[in-house]
Point group: C2
């Protein structure tokens, strides 16, 4: 590690277990193995120097952003000791170009920091997710992050104009173009977006900005069931034009979990209802969002899709509605071990999937409890499960594993995906491989080996190590 | 060719020169070599059978959509006789899923046909370009088509949810998922979008739909120069929220060209102005586009960005404004040989580029005439040049070639791209290769060889044949 210390200086390398421990646990509480060390380069050239060194010395690397992953992709692995490469010292906002509606940043910039910085200049960077106070832009790109505003602004892929990547052999791919349109050859940046760091380390990016909304309206609406909520979505998508920025499904149980976690929160409506929708509209010009959302209320009540609802009359009230959305996650955590999923579905199949998956859980573990919420405007359902509370931890884990396998087995029947946004990492690898046909599997493996023939960059994430599958007929 | 006849039937193969001639000329009037034959498979399995056969027999293939390319990418090449594979018999709209806002189609479906079909169901497929009456969805995907509505809806890449591709060895990659969110492994479909057919033949796709706008407003505005027009864009982008669907720069000369080509058209404003902007807003809900656009008029006149303007008061008047946009292209054609480009620029650099490029043309060929218009809301400038009219064809070609090289040499100084939307094909290959650094060039070449080691799929498009560069140190 002398090379690293020489190259990165004393602040740039951590080797003591006390110092490296915090790089070995993620947002979900999963822990990783002890890394060789943690490298903290300060700029792209230092990243490249570290990677070149590791490439030569055949040391595996796992790049790490804000540590908010949920699939153990960025945690050091035990199979062969890995160097954690943290981007946390690369936080610079390089350049905001107001007329181009773009900003270039270092990959280690925290999402919230970027959001605040562009907001101060009357722009919005629309990516919004629970972890935005800690997750980093590089991680958002590597995981093609989703979140709350995808239905209007797209996933991270849609927000990236340019990219800078250190390849597994230490070469720098510089594609930091701030172009909204560019059709010159293969679009290399697409390879790295969503590749979870397995093809290289994202060190910088040019991102697309939107005008900061000058008005926002938030409403909580109540429906009789998921089917009604999804029909309401179709109506909202039309009657709110392209100004619908969030459409979150929240079952009754989540309201209770939220209040359990944050007792200062109150029930949003006087009567409890089976299913709620938390909806947000935003606009930056002279648009009457009030008349838009009131029209939706009226039509929904007339059609019987809506049972009740409240339109936030102030920012404070809107924040309170959004706090329910946040607190319900803490409420889930209070119940200990539970299954978290992020199923992706055709929007039209979401309600049927919800019904069948719930029936499956009820049939196989009647005392387990389904907590299914999510960004249903883009077909993303967090179909989570609380195990029977009286079981011990091992029993709970066994029940949840069994239900997860059954749940994933249902997904292809609805032409869905086992991960809409969290990705594969290591935790979802087995069910992911089940979903691939041989052609897909070969193409993915071939791209990996093209860029990283020694399998030193995030080895074993997304795809198993080649060395583990030497008996495979394909290779 | 007996195999082809057996497999595809008599309608499936054309071999007579009379029959194949129409596959050998494109939208720009460029002609290709005589192909071995034209295969016209009727479904994906037939495409795969043809490709497998050619793979075995080492016959190069060039897939062809509507023939509206501008860079000779889909024309048969002379170096080694090629089989043209036309998708024109695969026109089926497979399935429209209204609640999922998606539609699946065969690749040979003509864009206009798809637009009409979804419009009848109250949706819009927003891709809009001059060639929409003939271009096909497969070609739109292969070229990552752009056009008029990119600033609101993105390029073709942003509209593709799923894809079906026949790989160069005849295997079928089936990724026809209708998912708005999906983060499971490398996103293979991204490889093929914009690859101009060099990595495989797109045979089907699932596309994203938007609600059909219920109101649209079109305006023609006049500005003193390009700088003012670009400042007006920044204002429009904010004050029209995300409802701005087109923002086209049109110089005075283009109005004259349009009237020359279509004398029934009249000047949109009473007085001539140096620069015009053709703007469109559309919405599907209760939005007052009138107050939005009137506000923009008022602000623009107050700030001095706007000199004059007209808001279309009827669909007929709106169509007339758009007819100017179409007719000006015919007007250019009437002047014979001219340089067409599609430069991509940071929006913030467009005005300066326009100025410097115009000065360059004036300095090197004072009698040439600059015709620069385009989708400037996404930084796409069609910086075209009419050569001095008194020259003969060879002289014109020489002047234009010289100016094109000088123009392309300016592009990197503005961090731009030599092709925002038309792509590389064969015609732009030389200047394209100039823009690549060695890492980019290697990665692109490696992906090509990964998928098509025998170089049978669109050989020599985008990248030169490997065999031509055997002295290259990289390979």
């Amino acid at each position: 590690m002398a090379f690293l210390q020489d190259t990165l200086g004393p602040k740039g390398v951590l080797t003591e277990k006390n110092d490296t421990a915090r790089y070995c646990i993620d947002w979900a509480g999963t822990t990783g193995a002890t890394p060789l060390a943690v490298a903290r380069p300060a700029n792209t050239e230092e990243v490249a120097a570290v990677v070149r060194y590791c490439h030569q010395a055949q040391i595996p690397i796992v790049p790490q952003g804000g540590g908010s992953g949920l699939v153990a992709g960025a945690l050091p692995d035990a199979q062969k000791a890995e160097l954690v490469l943290s981007l946390e010292r690369m936080q610079r906002i390089r350049h905001l170009d107001p007329l181009n509606f773009s900003v270039s940043v270092d990959a280690g910039c925290v999402l919230q920091t970027l959001k605040d910085a562009v907001e101060a200049e009357d722009f919005t960077f629309p990516l919004a997710l629970g972890a935005q106070g800690s997750c980093q832009i590089g991680g958002n790109i590597a995981t093609n992050a989703g979140g709350l505003n995808v239905l209007r602004y797209g996933m991270m892929r849609a927000l990236v104009l340019g990219i800078e990547v250190v390849l597994p052999d230490g070469r720098i791919l510089n594609d930091m173009k701030a172009l909204h349109k560019n059709n010159t050859g293969y679009d290399l940046k697409q390879w790295f977006i969503g590749a979870e760091g397995t093809l290289g380390i994202v060190t910088g990016a040019v991102l697309k900005l939107s005008p900061k909304p000058t008005s926002t309206r938030t409403a909580m609406m109540a429906c009789s069931d998921v089917t009604a909520a999804m029909r309401l979505y179709a109506q909202a998508r039309r009657s709110c034009c392209d100004l619908l920025s969030a459409f979150e499904l929240i079952p009754r149980r989540c309201i209770e979990l939220a209040i359990e976690a944050s007792p200062e929160l109150s029930d949003p409506l006087d009567t409890p209802y089976p299913v709620y929708v938390l909806m947000e509209l935003s606009a930056s010009g002279p648009v009457s969002l009030d008349s838009m959302i009131e029209g939706l209320f009226e039509a929904g009540l007339t059609d019987g899709l809506l049972l009740d609802g409240v339109l936030a009359s102030s920012d404070t009230q809107a924040n309170q509605l959004w706090m329910i959305r946040e607190a319900m996650l803490e409420g889930q955590q209070l119940h200990g071990l539970h299954l978290r999923t992020d199923i992706g579905l055709p929007i039209s199949a979401l309600s049927d999937f919800h019904q069948q998956a719930s029936a499956m859980v009820h049939a196989h573990s009647p005392e387990s409890e389904v907590i299914a919420y999510g960004h249903v405007g883009d077909g993303n359902l967090h179909f989570n499960i609380l195990p029977p509370p009286q079981l011990n931890e091992d029993e709970k884990a066994a029940v949840l594993h069994n239900l997860e396998m059954r749940l994933f087995a249902l997904v292809p029947q609805f032409n869905g995906s086992i991960s809409a946004e969290h990705g594969i990492g290591r935790l979802k690898q087995a069910p992911f491989l089940e979903t691939l046909d041989e052609t897909e599997r070969q193409l993915m493996q071939q791209l990996k080996l093209l860029l990283d023939p020694d399998e030193l960059m995030c080895p074993g994430r997304i795809l198993p190590r080649q060395s583990q599958r030497s008996s495979d007929s394909v290779f």
